[in-house]
Point group: C2
Chain length 457, copies 2
């Protein structure tokens, strides 16, 4: 007899993963290395060490070790909010009247409101261990900044956050959460840095972008003793830390003998998607199992579906190393009216390579459809989702409705990365019918793609 599956599957505290899983170890085609923007040669550990913490550089460059121990101090912090529940969407299934079985891994039950805390605490720990005074970073929607401020507060580190100006203005409450945890928050582009002043001069009235904010945070980290820069997505190390999401989700499903047919995640820089899929992708790469894996991105910022797979700058100021990734060009800035997050111009090198190798699919969805799905989900599942997460909800619903047509009982797993409590301005626009879709034209994309650096790799 099938074991009755509860609404929420909670693992025991003792089942929080003790090791992260590094999907690169199972990739035949490794993600392309970061390049020095001057020499176009692969970045060496000592070069990266000027920007990033030592141990994180090791993790960034390690394409071979499959499992990496989670230090006890990080594991202790994980106990504050992990294991996170894997939830069977019984209410949503009923509403859709679908034979599909829908599960979601919910990462929003912590004050940062998202999965970002999983990597923030790791990065803060390694900074502390190295004896640093503090770290700098950028934040878009504010989830990463909040997560990092919580992590830094825990280890007594200084935390300087550069927040994309349009989010800073749309989400003043996020700033107060970060201040509650003792962080300083500056709208980007600011007048505090060389690159900020330059961007403000070149683009008067700009509402900022993640790329700008990264440039500012890197400049501050590299020009202040005892500081390093940390990043909440895109990097290999971040996907490594986020593997706890997938490891827990897989362990929870395994307990009930459930195997997903389709795994869906929203994708901005790739941290959530990469983390969620990692153990499943590992099985797929090793030929042990097959899964349909779908990356969902906003039609406003479609790096996988409309970008190029090429070396590009990670930041607008072009001070960072070059990464090979699906990109829209480092000076691409999505419409400030796009409220759904996932605004980064490029995609994690790991995911880009996996996508290029055909191990996963990608699709893009329009903002208004995303908010329709968000509201539908909130009403029946009782969780008001972040706009980011709602991209995955949209596609999960669409796939479940396809099952309704075909009668197939597919099992769908998606990542519910966070809650939307700080996104009510966007929900208000949606309720008032003032929300559009803001899709870049081919000419828009061509203009930014034309700025890609010329690299023969």
């Amino acid at each position: 007899m099938e074991k009755k599956i509860p609404y929420k599957i909670y693992l025991e505290e003792s089942e929080i993963p003790k090791q992260w899983y590094n999907v690169r170890a199972d990739m035949k085609n490794k993600p392309a290395p970061l390049l020095n923007p001057g020499t176009l040669e692969p970045m060496k550990a000592e070069e990266l060490g000027g920007v990033f913490c030592e141990e994180l550089v090791k993790q960034e460059l390690d394409n071979d070790t499959a499992y990496i121990d989670i230090p006890e101090e990080i594991h202790d912090f994980y106990k504050m909010y992990r294991p996170s529940p894997t939830i069977r969407a019984y209410y949503l299934e009923k509403l859709l009247d679908t034979p599909a079985k829908i599960y979601y891994k919910f990462e929003g039950n912590n004050t940062s409101g998202s999965h970002k805390l999983n990597s923030a605490i790791a990065q803060a720990y390694y900074a502390k261990k190295q004896g640093l005074k503090g770290v700098t970073t950028e934040t878009g929607a504010g989830q990463w900044g909040t997560a990092l401020s919580m992590a830094c507060s825990y280890f007594g580190l200084d935390c300087k956050v550069y927040m994309v100006k349009c989010s800073y203005e749309q989400k003043p409450f996020r700033r107060e959460v970060m201040r509650t945890y003792g962080a300083s928050v500056t709208p980007s582009p600011s007048m505090d840095t060389n690159i900020g002043r330059k961007i403000n001069a070149d683009h008067p009235g700009t509402t900022g972008s993640l790329g700008c904010a990264i440039s500012e945070a890197v400049e501050v980290a590299t020009s202040n003793d005892g500081y390093r820069y940390v990043l909440g997505s895109v990097l290999n190390q971040v996907l490594l830390h986020q593997s706890v999401i997938g490891l827990e989700a897989k362990a929870a499903l395994d307990k009930y003998g459930v195997k997903p047919d389709i795994i869906i995640g929203c994708a901005g820089g790739g941290s959530n998607l990469g983390g969620l899929i990692s153990p499943f992708m590992g099985e797929k790469l090793r030929g042990e199992a097959d899964y349909r894996i779908i990356a969902v991105e906003p039609a406003s910022c479609p790096s996988l579906t409309r970008g190029k797979y090429a070396y590009d700058f990670c930041d607008t100021g072009m001070v960072c190393p070059l990464a090979k990734m699906y990109t829209l060009g480092s000076n691409f800035i999505p419409s400030p009216n796009h409220a759904g997050g996932l605004r980064y111009h490029g995609m994690s090198s790991i995911l880009s390579q996996l996508y290029d190798d055909g191990y996963m699919e990608a699709t893009s969805v329009k903002q208004t459809e995303v908010f329709e799905a968000a509201e539908m989900f909130a009403r029946v599942e009782g969780i008001l989702p972040a706009p980011e997460s709602s991209h995955a909800i949209r596609v999960a619903i669409d796939e479940a409705l396809k099952c309704k047509e075909t009668g197939e009982e597919k099992t769908i797993l998606f990542g519910l990365t966070g809650t939307g409590y700080f996104d009510m301005v966007a929900y208000e626009k949606f309720h008032n019918g003032e929300m559009g879709d803001y899709i870049p034209t081919d000419d828009d994309l061509k203009a930014s793609l034309d700025t890609l650096p010329k690299v023969d790799k």
Copy 2:
């Protein structure tokens, strides 16, 4: 050997209580009955039925049945967000360097952000079962209105919320959450009702009070076919539904053989405190165990510590029945600068009687001290607490610090009723040093207490 206690104790889904516990059954001195404001005779079921749903009237009047079955439909909904965790505050203990063992029952992991959902879903269910079109209510900080809008959305009921004007203005995002769940939200006092127009005329520029909003909601319910009024606190029925908090907390602690010495809850109308303490109070009333039980109220609205135990109106408009309770007078309005919630002028009749009989203590705390405790807690426990809940945190910290002085290893349990994500305006004031304590003078209290109705009971 002592069983290692995890950070978070989660019960199984199958351990969600199947029955509510009615503490009145174990009280020798029953709470005083509601009185008809005209005849001053106890309200009969048929009279109450014009305002409240039938089944809820039965629960309101039932002083004898100790356990009442939770209908399956409500139990199904509880599975959406219950069982809620009972958390060992290891991080806070370490920060305080106290020998005390601190636990808290956390009710904030749902979109309404608080425990209010426990009663909202019950009240919506009975309204639906009675074939009503919808319900009306008031909301202060917005937690109850949000909870009710979620519950009504689940059962397809119309939901009309009258929101205290100062909260409506301070918390616009709450309104959008309620709209996400399809509720209509009106700032109170409004110009839509007779009583609202009268209050606006008598007190131009008033920022409203729970008492005003209740009067408006009751007027709308009684003058529209197919509507009834529902209330999120104070009433006996609400404390009954909220007993799930205490039942789960006790079950979780019992699993580890833990017995609290001190139980602490914030108290506005009494719904959380009454729910949290109910099974413990039951043991105390039956002489099976002893617990020190502390109600914490804001110094801005000190009904237990500075009010009178007397019959009073439940609302400003004096349209509701009279309740015997600790009260500050039905026209008492706390300073609009008081941001900490818990603004109701009276206290649950059950808790008032228990307090009067000496079964519990009460204390009041100042707003700035409450926010200091909130920030301290957020930084180490990772949960940004609601200002309401932070009243309990303040006293839990103070008691733990006393243990540090005396070396006593007391076990403290407190109720963490919810999260403060919609209270960032108040946190911002606190961060900017713009927050005061707003304690009413003796003259203020005398003025409102002088308006108590003359009832010889």
